[in-house]
């Protein structure tokens, strides 16, 4: 074997080992790097019941109910399953019905998610308010046309 071939063989095996290592690490990440579980995953018992985890989805329309003090009830949905959430504390500004939310806490025996932290998740769309309003009107007009 020429020294040059030896060098190439060493580099190739190094790169291969590196790729295998990367794949293994990514595989390990796959289960641990999930920042939040969707309501469907929670309903399918994929989320841990004995420790804290995060739940993510959209705040269901019309579900926000403010109780005495800072306690708020709302529901998180992914348009398939709905999980009720209770939280005591100050909500972020972007927390709105129909918008993304990530809540951290644990699920109680009654199936209610008791959150101790609520984060707002916003999407990747940026536009002036007029454009957003025009889009909304167009969607409503389409809905009305479909209803007729």
């Amino acid at each position: 074997m020429k020294p040059r071939h030896k060098k190439i063989a060493i580099i190739t095996s190094g790169v291969t080992a590196l790729c295998v290592a990367a794949i293994l690490v990514l595989n390990a990440f796959q289960s641990n790097l999930v920042f939040f579980f969707s309501p469907s995953q929670v309903a399918a018992n994929e989320a841990p019941t004995d420790k804290r985890f995060r739940i993510g989805g959209l705040v269901e329309m019309g579900s926000i109910r403010r109780n005495e003090g800072l306690t708020v009830n709302f529901a998180v949905t992914d348009n398939a399953e709905v999980i009720p959430v209770v939280y005591t504390g100050i909500l972020p500004d972007l927390f709105k019905e129909g918008k993304g939310v990530v809540a951290q806490g644990r699920i109680s025996a009654g199936g209610i998610f008791e959150a101790d932290e609520v984060l707002a998740k916003h999407d990747e769309n940026y536009m002036p308010p007029e454009a957003a309003m025009a889009l909304e009107q167009a969607a409503e007009a389409k809905k009305a046309a479909l209803a007729q």
């Binding site: 590196l18 920042f35 972007l94 998740k121 990747e124 769309n125 940026y126 536009m127 002036p128």
Partner: protein, 248 residues
């Protein structure tokens, strides 16, 4: 007319070429930054859900793009230096690292400032944020490894291997928002889809990204020149240069 590009792979001719190019890139960077910030602050409209706070993207996104892109460029030059034993390539890789680290820090810092008002947290252990933090450690590791080895040729080789191993992190950062459920939102601008933002916002962001490119090139050239002088200080051309400077 054929230009002999290999002429510029010699440190002495690259030194004088870089010297001529630095003012050009510096001026372009300043002009583009002024234009980009003007568009960002005065022309681009207010966002429908984030209000004025979204304007940090004009720094945040270009910085994050540059942090990833500069790492790829650095690893590329380091690999060329490793494979073909070209001195200048390794010097350029070394020169890129501090600028890349600066942009990575800037992306993390501005992201944190943006995260508090919008998400409600300065920092979360989200896949996108964590992998970007690892990128910062890779840059710092590259710089400290090179600084720890006295022989520059050996330092170049060790650094190149570290830089190449770290390349796996770049696709992880970029695709993290698609591969996992993350708090960080998906990409607004990508090669495969039409941009998800208003045209003036996009223009401001792209102009700022160009400004960051020009800044990075200027900084890399300045730093490469310094590294060339340091490593070639025993050669005759540096001695001649020194005499010429002294005579002026």
């Amino acid at each position: 007319m054929a230009i002999n590009w290999f002429k510029y792979s010699s440190p002495s001719s690259f030194y004088s070429l870089a010297g001529k190019m630095i003012p050009l890139f510096t001026v372009t960077a300043i002009l583009l930054a002024i234009a980009g910030l003007y568009i960002g602050f005065f022309v681009a409209p207010t966002d429908f859900q984030q209000g004025e706070a979204y304007r940090i993207i004009f720094i945040h996104v270009p910085a994050a793009w540059m942090s990833m892109f500069l790492y790829l460029v650095m690893a590329c030059w380091a690999a060329i230096g490793l494979a073909f034993n070209t001195r200048l390539s390794s010097m350029i890789a070394t020169a890129i690292a501090p600028t890349g680290a600066m942009f990575t820090f800037l992306a993390l810092w501005t992201g944190s400032l943006w995260g508090k008002p919008m998400w409600g947290a300065w920092w979360v252990w989200d896949a996108r944020l964590t992998s970007e933090l690892i990128l910062l450690f890779l840059y710092i590791g590259f710089m400290s490894l090179q600084a720890a080895i006295d022989d520059p040729r050996r330092a170049d080789k060790a650094g190149a291997i570290l830089a190449l191993v770290g390349v796996v992190n770049i696709p992880i950062i970029y695709f993290s928002v698609n591969w996992w459920n993350t708090l960080h939102q998906g990409a607004s601008v990508s090669l495969t889809q039409s941009p998800k933002m208003a045209a003036t916002m996009l223009t401001g962001m792209l102009v700022m990204a160009l400004a960051c490119w020009m800044y990075s090139i200027a900084m890399t050239l300045i730093r490469t020149r310094v590294i060339i002088l340091e490593r070639e200080r025993h050669t005759s051309w540096v001695a001649d240069l020194h005499e010429k400077e002294a005579a002026r």
